[in-house]
């Protein structure tokens, strides 16, 4: 959503432009001319986006094909289709970590005729090295719906980037947002993120981490990269839901969808299945640990589906 703070007009046709204080380039809604609002010194890469109509078409296609949505497609109305170019820095970080910690292992030991489970504590010392791909959103607090999915999908799809100076402006139909994080702060955030990932890795290898040292070195930083992001707000029976798309190929990132009565029946069955799992697990387990484990798993399943049973929205993720 954009708002006009100060009246700007298109340099070519004079039509009013909709801009926020952070717009780098505003595309004239009438003639399509790119108006540079603020000066940019660094190199900027951009991924050309598909048009609003193509995103809309994609959404319409989805509601006529999706298993849940096609049954209600006549009652679905598109409220808005909007988006923006979102700035990121992409890093390759080399991280080397050394850790020490206690690992608790459960081993089966034979005592005479019976096999019993024994827990043992073992000291583990190891090194882990990883080359990590890190993305830093160059805006503060803009962690909007589906931003994580957008970067994950960008890494997976690896679409071609174009220098912003060479782009065909007649195809860029989205406002471009300025960065708010200077490069040196982004570097620190990237290294911080890499170290946190390594710590989580080390933590997953032991049950108690006692020492952790990590060295993170930036191997590569991409120029500021603008990813096109679109979202569709649609209504069904007066309630609103949102679906987010990657702008370069209309890939669905995440979508909120209405919960239908048959979903609630499935959630009810899920909740009862939790009881079944726990009960079965408990009567057939021979050890207190497996007995408790089945109770926790069954209880967790039942609790989760009980919550879903009275919730308001389902989240579907793009594959």
């Amino acid at each position: 959503m954009v708002t006009a703070i100060k009246e700007y007009r298109c340099k070519r046709c004079g039509a009013p432009l909709k801009i926020t204080p952070e717009t780098i380039v505003a595309i004239c809604g009438y003639c399509g001319y790119p108006n540079w609002i603020s000066h940019v010194e660094e190199q900027i890469l951009i991924i050309p986006s598909l048009s609003r109509d193509e995103v809309k078409f994609s959404f319409k296609k989805r509601i006529s094909e999706d298993f849940d949505l096609r049954k209600i497609k006549d009652k679905i109305k598109i409220v808005t289709v909007d988006g923006a170019y979102i700035p990121f820095y992409f890093y390759t970080v080399r991280a080397e970590a050394y850790y020490e910690g206690w690992r608790v292992e459960t081993v089966a030991v034979k005592r005479g005729k019976r096999t019993i489970l024994e827990t043992r504590r073992k000291m583990v010392r190891d090194r882990i090295c990883s080359t990590l791909k890190i993305s830093i959103l160059a805006r503060r607090g803009a962690e909007d719906f589906s931003i994580k999915e957008l970067t994950d999908y960008y890494r997976y799809a690896n679409p071609e980037t174009v220098d912003i100076m060479q782009i065909d402006w007649s195809k860029v139909k989205l406002p471009i947002l300025k960065t708010e994080i200077p490069v040196d702060e982004a570097d620190i955030l990237a290294r911080d993120k890499a170290m946190n990932i390594m710590r989580e890795k080390a933590k997953s290898k032991v049950s108690e981490l006692t020492k952790f040292i990590c060295r993170a070195k930036i191997l590569e930083r991409s120029p500021l990269t603008l990813l096109p992001y679109w979202y569709v707000i649609y209504s069904y029976r007066g309630a609103q839901y949102r679906a987010a798309y990657a702008g370069w190929d209309r890939h669905l990132l995440t979508a909120q969808e209405p919960i239908m009565p048959y979903h609630r029946i499935l959630y009810f069955i899920g909740s009862v299945a939790g009881c079944l799992i726990s009960s079965l697990g408990m009567v057939f387990s021979h050890h207190i640990s497996t007995l408790l484990l089945s109770l926790i798993i069954g209880g967790g399943i039942s609790f989760y589906f009980g919550d879903r049973l009275v919730s308001d929205v389902r989240i579907e993720r793009g594959v």
Binding site: M195, V272, I301
Partner: protein, 322 residues
């Protein structure tokens, strides 16, 4: 202490121990001792007006489980208030040297500078910067501005303490004796607009809170229809009965009847909790799930107090304030 605004002439009260004041009528923010305008003062222009905010709120409420089907037609807006909350944003960087490597933690921390919040907001809310502009009083038409009520030094300490809490755990694991250096940069005071909407349905007075910049609904009350409350009780009883029946059957098959029943009934209680909670109250509250729990009205002060407690605790450690 009583102050007079240099811009509009309005008179207002501020706490004794603060050095920056905001006029509640026009938003002008100045240093109390010198009367000089605060240079790093920003605000967010409202993007969602009260009607758009109200429509968004209704669109979210209508999809809630159990809301009466005539809610949209019969609900009416009775009051709207735009609150401009004073938010300080800090960029904090924590560093420590350990065996030739650096331990790092960096975070942007946004804290409302208020002892008591006029409206509840999520504790972990990351205020967007999108749309932040330098403050100019002539840009505003309405809204209530709140003066910063907490000392900036305290807020800064809290911001540092937050990052320190994270980095100290890491230092402890790497080199327990390493010295931590914290660098804190204040990104200025920002007044952030939030809508408080009051609406009535069938005699019930309800309240909703909506972010006027992003349009996100933080919280909103809604009524449950009697039919759906009954249905929710039915659901929870059915889960309990099914759990017990399954447990009993499995118990009979396996010759451990008691364990079977326990195994069936405990998860059933867990599953029945949510539907039961829905049926218990006529007035329910929708809460945004994205930014943590809601801080209640007295939240900030507690948060700050907790932060200062951490500061006093960690002052025994190697903690260098810069």
């Amino acid at each position: 202490m009583k102050l007079k605004c240099s811009h509009c002439g309005g008179e207002f009260e501020v706490p004794e121990d603060v050095n920056i004041a905001t006029c509640p009528y026009c938003g002008t923010t100045f240093e109390i001792s010198t009367g000089k305008l605060e240079s790093k003062h920003y605000f967010y222009p409202m993007i969602y007006d009260s009607n758009e905010a109200y429509e968004t709120l209704k669109a979210i409420l209508i999809r809630q489980f159990g809301i009466p089907s005539d809610f949209k037609e019969k609900v009416s807006l009775i009051s709207r208030h735009l609150h401009y909350l004073p938010i300080y944003i800090f960029y904090v960087e924590g560093k420590a040297e350990c065996e030739g490597t650096e331990i790092l933690e960096a975070e942007y921390v946004a804290i409302p500078s208020m002892r008591i919040l006029p409206i509840p907001i999520p504790a972990e809310y990351r205020f967007p910067i999108k749309g932040r502009v330098y403050f100019k009083p002539q840009m505003l038409k309405y809204g209530k501005f709140y003066s910063p009520q907490l000392k900036i030094e305290h807020l800064e300490k809290y911001a540092k303490a937050r990052v320190y809490r994270r980095i100290s755990g890491e230092v402890e694991l790497a080199c327990p004796k390493a010295e931590v250096t914290l660098n804190c940069k204040c990104e200025g005071l920002t007044h952030y607009p939030i809508w408080e909407l009051q609406y009535v349905y069938a005699g019930f007075k309800l309240r909703g809170v909506v972010d006027a910049v992003s349009g996100e609904v933080f919280s909103a009350q809604y009524p449950m229809s009697t039919f759906h409350r009954g249905m929710a009780i039915g659901m929870s009883l059915s889960i309990l009965a099914s759990g017990m029946a399954i447990g009993w059957m499995i118990g009979q098959i396996s010759s451990h009847p008691l364990i079977g029943i326990i195994g069936g009934i405990i998860p059933a209680v867990a599953g029945a909790l949510h539907p039961l909670r829905k049926s218990a109250y006529k007035i329910q509250e929708y809460r945004s799930q994205t930014h943590g729990e809601l801080m209640d009205e007295s939240g900030t002060e507690n948060v700050i107090k907790e932060g200062l407690k951490i500061v006093s605790l960690i002052s025994n450690f190697n903690f260098k304030l810069q």
